[in-house]
Structures are given as C-alpha cells and as structure tokens.
C-alpha cells in the first residue's frame, strides 16, 4: 500500500492562506491512509479540530472508500456537494494520487495534507517498509526474492559495494548489506549466486505510465 505521513501542518495552513480560504472541507482515504493512520476517520476528525482551532470554518468531511478511484470520488463529491460548495478550499489526507483525484472532481483549490512516502509492505500493524519501487522490470527471479533496486540504498544490481563491512550496509549502518542477504538466501536454496545482472532498462519506467485492461481491446500499455 501507499505509505503517507503527515505533512508539516504549517505548510497546510500557509497553502490555505495563499488562497485566502476561511472555510475548509476535509477528505480522507478509507484504504491506504486509513491503514497508515494518516487519513482515516480519527485523523480526519483531528484535522477538523486543528483547522477549527486555527480559525477556519470546517464545512464538512468525508472518507471515501478509495480516494484514488476517480469514479468513486466523483460520486462522493456529488453526495457532499453542498458542504463542498460552502468551502473555500479542500484539504486531502490521502496520497498524491488521491489528492489529484479529488482535485479533478471538485472546482475548488485542493491541497495535500499528507506526504506520499513509499509503496510499503506492512511488516506488522503500523510498521511499514519499502521493498518495491515499481521499476517495471522485476529482478526478484534472480535475487532470491529480495529487491536490490529498492533495498540497497544505492540501488545497485551487483554488489556488495565497497562500503560493506562485516556484512553490514555502509549507508544505513544498522542494516545488513542486501547483496550479502541475497547471496545467503540463494545459497540456502542451492541456487547460482554468481550471476552479474545487466544494466536496468529504465525505458520500462516511462512516466506517466498508463495501462488499460478493458475487454474492448488493447488501448493502453504498461510502460
């Protein structure tokens, strides 16, 4: 899921001041930001309180099921049309994708209340780690299911680099070197550990990516 963290609150207030907003509508997200405890019902309620305390009139709020779903967010905006119309601006407690979906759905200034951090694995409740950065060309087949592109701080396909010391990473010194971990796992599985991976094809991660899997035909491509 997309891991978000609270944006510096003063920046949110400055954004609202920049458009002279006096009234605000708040949008959360029922999916990732709820799991990350940054944009669920409790955090939306807290944001309402903080905005009120800062002198804003809060006209309303909602936590859509999935805030990055364009159709769902449009429906949600229609349901809350009156309170959205009454607001000068919208603050969104969701990832950047959710914030943009809301911005497409309402004719009001929309500001992010969170920072999008990474695509996270839930290690345990409330603890997230970045394991994949969606590079478009997976190497996990060759690396024992450990991604060096993401988990090596330098993103090296072939390591260890010269900083590895006693099996530990030189950049994040309290963490094992991922290339040593890859070798260990492959060795445990009796697999070849000597392969040099070729340079990555970054053209597979052209921005912005687009994909359609609609039955009507191949109208898009995952690039």
């Amino acid at each position: 899921m997309i891991i978000t963290r609270q944006r510096e609150w003063q920046r949110v207030l400055d954004d609202l001041a920049s458009v002279g907003a006096r009234s605000v509508f708040v949008v959360g997200c029922g999916e990732c930001a709820t799991a990350a405890h940054t944009g669920g019902e409790p955090e939306v309620a807290e944001a309402r309180e903080r905005l009120s305390a800062a002198g804003f009139a809060v006209t309303g709020s909602t936590v859509p099921e999935v805030t990055c779903h364009a159709g769902g967010v449009k429906l949600e905006a229609r349901k809350h049309a009156a309170t959205i119309d009454a607001a000068d601006a919208i603050v969104v407690l969701a990832c950047g994708a959710g914030t943009q979906t809301v911005a497409d759905a309402v004719a009001k200034p929309v500001f992010p209340g969170l920072e999008s951090a990474f695509l996270g694995t839930v290690v345990r409740h409330g603890v997230f780690e970045e394991r994949c950065q969606m590079c478009g060309e997976c190497v996990l087949d060759a690396t024992g299911g450990i991604c060096p592109v993401t988990t090596c701080p330098k993103g090296l396909l072939n390591g260890p680099c010269g900083g590895m010391w006693d099996g530990m990473c030189d950049v994040v010194r309290d963490r094992p070197c991922v290339h040593v971990q890859i070798r260990e796992r492959l060795a445990q599985q009796g697999r070849d550990v000597a392969r040099t991976l070729p340079p990555k094809d970054h053209s597979k991660k052209l921005k912005p990516a687009k994909l359609s899997v609609r039955a009507s035909g191949p109208s898009g491509s995952a690039r």
């Binding site: 090296l156 000597a194 040099t196």
Partner: protein, 293 residues
C-alpha cells in the same frame, strides 16, 4: 602505452598516489602536490568527487597531471552520471591522452557535502567496466560502432578485508570478467587478508595495488573510522598512534612498515598521504621501495 600497465605487466612493483582535485577553480595547490608526489609514482589517481563531496572534475584535473608530465588514473564514480554522460566522458578522456581508468561505485550522496543530491547509480561499477571494455573494442554499450576506439587500461576497487569474503570475491571476479586488469584497495591493515586477496586475483590474471594511509593523528583515525567507506582502523593500530609521544612520527613509521610488508605480497602500493605529501619520498625510501621512472 600506459606506463602503469607496462610496469605491472613486466612485474615491476608499482607506486600510485592519490590526488584530490581542488574544491574550486584554483589548481595551484594541486599542482604543488602533484609536483611532490608525481615524480615518485608510476601514475596518479585523480579522484572523482571523493566522499560524495564537490571537487573539480577528475577529467579536468587529469589534464593538469598530463600537462605536468605525470600519468593520471582517471577515476569515475557511478554516483554522479548516467550511462550517456559516463560514456561521453570516457571518449573525451581517451582522446585527450588519458590511458588508465579506475571505476568505482561511489559513496552515497548522503555522506557528502550535498546530502540532498540525487545519487544516479544508473549503472554499477561492473557495468561500467563492461561498457569500457566494449569501447576498447570500438563499440558503445548498445553495440553500435564508435568512430575510433579507446584503449583504456581498466581498473577497479576491491576490499581485501571485507567479510563475508565470498561475497567480496564474487564481485571482484565479476569485475575481472568485465575487464578489470588491476585493482586498487583502501588502506589494508591485515596482511594475511591482503595475501588471500592477491592470490585470488592473481589466479584470474589481474594485479593488486594495495593502499596505505598516513594516519597522522588520533583525529585522522576518528575521521577515517567515521567517514571513509569500507575502512576501519584496527584497535591495535589506532592505539599505537594514539599512545605515541609523537603521533605523526609514529604514523610515518607505521606507513614504512606497511609499505615494506605490502611489497612482499602485492603488485604495488597506493599511497594516500592525507596531507603529508612531503614525507612520501622518505616513506618509500625507508621501506626499500625505490621509485623507478
């Protein structure tokens, strides 16, 4: 032909020195250092934004070395440039008369003086060796022919004391397969581990030039341990410098011993004087290493 290649292939014990380009456009201090260390060395490594900190480009500083009549080893890190920029710099370097290339991954930008910089790492050091080998054959990394091939003598870094050794060795062998003919190391303190590394590298037909640091003071030791990647001064060495009545002289004595020991094991010594440039001739002489030019 590269004097470094020539000497190593003839089995001569080689001496390389390390030159950091200036942090600015004034090359006078660097010229002075080159003038002191250059005449003692077969070749001078010109570092590339070492420690992820801003310096004049290695390419520019290599030209200063050439102008002064010294042979540079052009260092390229994978941190700051993508595959296009690296290849174009290699073409320029060869065209301008640079014959030796040392490729390294590079320290992470977060450890340098521009911690907000984006580390590029488009390709890694093994890839860059593969690419440079291809350029020596007259083609770019896409396999397309170049107008004029390069002829670099290719080197890479290795860390004889790294553990687990099998991981380090596998990477080193990968670099040899990619075209590395010589390796330079960080400062080495464990001669047994150096011997282990030299044997392994020799088995694949490549050479090892082992590093020596002049650990002039306890403060330098603290800095090395805290900031230099892949390097930790062992406690018995640190204690010797810390407890010496004159740490600087103790450091010189230590360097003499290390150079003499390296001479018995490796193919050359890479001298990193950390500002004690004027003491390099004395250290080499006392260690019985007579610079041959």
């Amino acid at each position: 032909m590269s004097r470094l290649r020539d000497a190593l292939e003839r089995g001569e014990f080689v001496i390389t020195g390390e030159i950091a380009p200036p942090r600015g456009a004034d090359v006078s201090a660097m010229r002075k250092t080159m003038g002191l260390v250059g005449p003692l060395c077969h070749a001078l490594n010109i570092t590339d934004n070492q420690g992820a900190s801003l310096h004049m480009s290695s390419l520019g500083a290599c030209l200063v070395a050439l102008e002064m009549g010294f042979e540079p080893i052009f260092q390229q890190t994978c941190r700051d440039r993508n595959r296009l920029a690296l290849q174009s710099d290699l073409m320029a370097a060869w065209a301008l008369g640079i014959e030796n290339l040392l490729v390294v991954t590079g320290d992470d930008a977060r450890s340098g003086d521009h911690p907000q910089a984006k580390g590029v790492f488009d390709i890694d050091s093994t890839h860059l060796l593969q690419i440079a080998s291809g350029m020596n054959e007259g083609q770019d990394m896409q396999g397309r022919p170049l107008a004029g091939k390069t002829g670099f003598y290719l080197g890479a870094a290795m860390f004889p004391e790294a553990e687990p050794w099998d991981a380090q060795l596998a990477r080193t062998v990968g670099k040899i397969e990619a075209g590395a003919r010589f390796f330079q190391t960080q400062a080495v303190f464990d001669l047994d581990k150096l011997a282990r590394a030299v044997d392994a590298v020799h088995a694949h037909g490549a050479k090892v030039i082992a590093g020596v640091l002049f650990l002039r003071s306890p403060r330098v030791i603290d800095f090395v341990n805290a900031h230099l990647a892949g390097l930790m001064v062992p406690e018995h060495v640190a204690r010797r410098i810390r407890q010496a009545a004159d740490p600087l002289e103790a450091a010189i004595d230590l360097a003499v011993e290390q150079v003499a020991a390296i001479r018995e094991v490796a193919d050359g010594v890479h001298v990193m004087p950390l500002g004690l440039d004027a003491r390099v001739p004395e250290v080499l002489e006392r260690a019985g290493v007579v610079p041959q030019r």
